[in-house]
Symmetry: D3
């Protein structure tokens, strides 16, 4: 979606909804519409994955509307992971601000090749659009990354949650056959998400 | 990628490779470059999933190059599934030619809502770009669908294969934490893919 | 138009109208918004052309909005044609479900090369965006095809109708000179459309 | 096709061919690559249509490559027409430099509405992408227009030529049925193109 | 922004505002929505630059909405200039209708190469998207050009005005350091814009 | 430019050159093709502007090719500025890692409104595509920012350099009239760049 004016600051509560967002009246636009604070604040990683994403997407920065880019901070506890996930609408570029991360993405069928690397402070890595990828903190203390994504609203699909935690559930039989395990294994996984 | 000439038939063996494909010399282009046969032939569904996709992508039809569309036939044995997967570069539209299919897709985080429906012969359904989706044959005999995708090379990422069958493996610890199961469960899954 | 969210189901009766359609409230979206029935039902080919297109465009499937793809069924009586036409906003890919079709497209000036082929059941063919193309049933019984198009609303311009059947008419003098025939010939053609 | 560098001047004789053109070595690029002369010279309108298009497309101005725009001059003899045609890859905007033009375009099915207007010197008009359109000199002397198109290579499909003058011919039976006339009428038309 | 219907004539006073414009009800669309008059009328060049741009953008021609193209006339008094400026959203193609113009554009860092040429009547030149460019009338009388741009609303950023004439001012210290001059020089420049 | 495969790692030395880059043979692609090191290393700000940009564009990370995103680190000495500049092909999003920055962009004609804000650690700001923008370190020590841009090769046009430092020079008369100063002032400015 190419921009057709200098900016179209999202009217986040506007009606009707459209692809992206309608624009606020340009006369009421303020510098704060292009801004967001708090990316220096560590996210709370006290969760099962030991990681936390703090987004600066169009919902946080309405001035991003129509511009095809966004940002995020990711915090990782010691041993924490950003579990395998995809962004259905964006490529991601990430740089390590602190710590050590093992990162990787998997190519599509039939190769399903894992392309992975250990990143240290100052390293940058690219996760191509739509591919499954993950990060793991392999250092001895917490880690922090700044990521940017090629969409104002990249979307996140955590594989485990989408597959085993959808509402309602994907039929157990489908998942048992998809993962080639007993239904009981699927049910245990579904219980966790 | 908008087309910049009437057609740019893919030179599939051309060098260098580019985004998509270089074009064959237009003078050597034949009607057969825009064609492909065999979408009436049932795919062999004697496999673990009980389904088979027969693609008509740019690799099969070089005339699709630069045009943002492709097609496929999907066969489903009785009880067969097309397991949860994504297309990183395409939305899919599918129509049932024979039989009955339960189909669904899961929205991105945090909702992970399953949108599903039972389709009968002549029904059409849409799977939005990048979202996890599946089909299951819930009828009493085999089923057949014709699908179209909004890319000349949509890519397929079967979730189970990408996550548990990558080469090399995603570290077992990452998957154990991601799926919140013991490492032994992950290893069993990895052994199957 | 890249999608900026998982889906933007068309609010077909929404106001104001925009490029494509505004989105329904996501909370009210149902599986049926992504679905359409009846592509197994033969279209009524009792007309001058002996063919009938049954569309599954965004007007039929509001869930197609923003996704750049659509589908259609085409029925052909014995000897029926889908007359020369263009899609101003889409490339078409078509597969024959039943019968035999002679298909072709014509390249742009100055070559105006006809690229044509006889298709049988299971054959697939591509009609590049904007080019004049047609199909003819050359078999001994009716024929059926499933087509997909690279736009949610590809548009159809039947050449004869647009040129000789516009409302109001294109000036007769323009058409007489364009087709290099007497005005009386043009008037006869205009009378038919 | 968004530009990914300041310019990519077309290497018009380059090999292999790609979508658009490969780039000349930037070091050898000259101002003349972005230029073209002669749009002030009247085209020769001594032909059946009484009009002549002088293009300034990427083939004439290699510097247009990747930029999605081009220009043309159109000359019209007294009574001359630019016959009904489409541009498969571009919208056109046209301004009258001299004389008087009746212009129009026809919307797609099922309306096939003719939207037309008489333009005088200094008037501007828009012909939407892919729609059939024409111009006619309705003044008492020659007329001249400058047009711009939203593609480096918009393509031109003169309806009469594509339908009745393709090489080889579209089958006479197809055209007879499409235009609902006798085969003999079609053959006369085919003989002229 | 690909068009998703034959046309989406801008409802220039519509509410809410969106990227580009919402569409007028197609039933109320008139030929005049695709038209604009007056590009034959010389612009008033009695100003500091000795030039005047008469735009035919979407604001003047609502029918341009979604089509990615627009037009303009530029008048130059003897010795007049169209001062260094950029179009943030468009490539420009320009043809000289009358007189002689020296034109040029400057490539991005680090080369900052000036690509320039003297154009005479009938010459065409391309100014790549986003690059600084200018025209100067080097002939002995006034000059006129017709330009087309690859956006319905290309935007114009006159460098001197944006840098020294913004409201409020860019801090004087920033400009003094940017242009490596004393603050007093900056203040004089700011006073003029 | 939508990606048409999982990745198309730039063959930076490939021939011929194309829009963006041709792809390396996928079999030879390594994780290092998606990576780049050193974004933690302060840039050398001992220059006239007191700032330094360290890019992570496609030239540094060939894996960015076709993906529409890139990253950069910007260092600012005390009092340093990133002088007024544009990116002809990208919107920028920036977050402050250290220190305090006054940032702003100027809208296009005729408003030329300065939208500015003081950013502190953790603040994020957006600079719309093609608009003139700058940053200034207003803190008492050095400052650091991480920026991301919506192009693999966004381009940088430093206004002062492009206008007063092009090679060859923009004619002095053009600049004198454009900035409404004496030729001697222009010559002094040209001497500095």
């Amino acid at each position: 979606m190419d921009a057709l004016q200098d900016f179209c600051v999202a009217d986040l509560k506007g009606s009707p909804t459209i692809n992206g967002f309608a624009c606020k009246d340009p006369k009421t636009v303020q510098a704060s519409d292009f801004s967001f604070g708090g990316l220096h604040i560590p996210g709370n990683t006290s969760n099962a994955f030991g990681s936390k994403v703090t987004p600066a997407f169009v919902t946080q920065i309405p001035g991003l509307n129509t511009f095809g880019i966004s940002m995020a901070r990711v915090d990782y506890a010691r041993g924490g992971i950003n579990p395998p996930h995809t962004h259905p609408r964006a490529t991601e570029i990430l740089t390590v601000i602190k710590g050590t991360l093992e990162v990787g993405f998997v190519t599509s069928n039939p190769e399903n090749r894992l392309v992975s690397k250990v990143l240290r402070k100052g390293d940058v890595f690219v996760f191509p659009i739509g591919l499954v990828h993950f990060q793991r903190n392999t250092g001895h203390r917490n880690a922090v990354a700044i990521a940017a994504l090629s969409s104002q609203n990249p979307g996140v699909i955590t594989v485990a949650n989408a597959v085993f935690g959808s509402k309602p559930d994907i039929p157990t039989d489908v998942l048992a056959k998809a993962f080639q395990v007993d239904r009981s294994v699927v049910q245990k996984l579904q219980a966790k998400f």
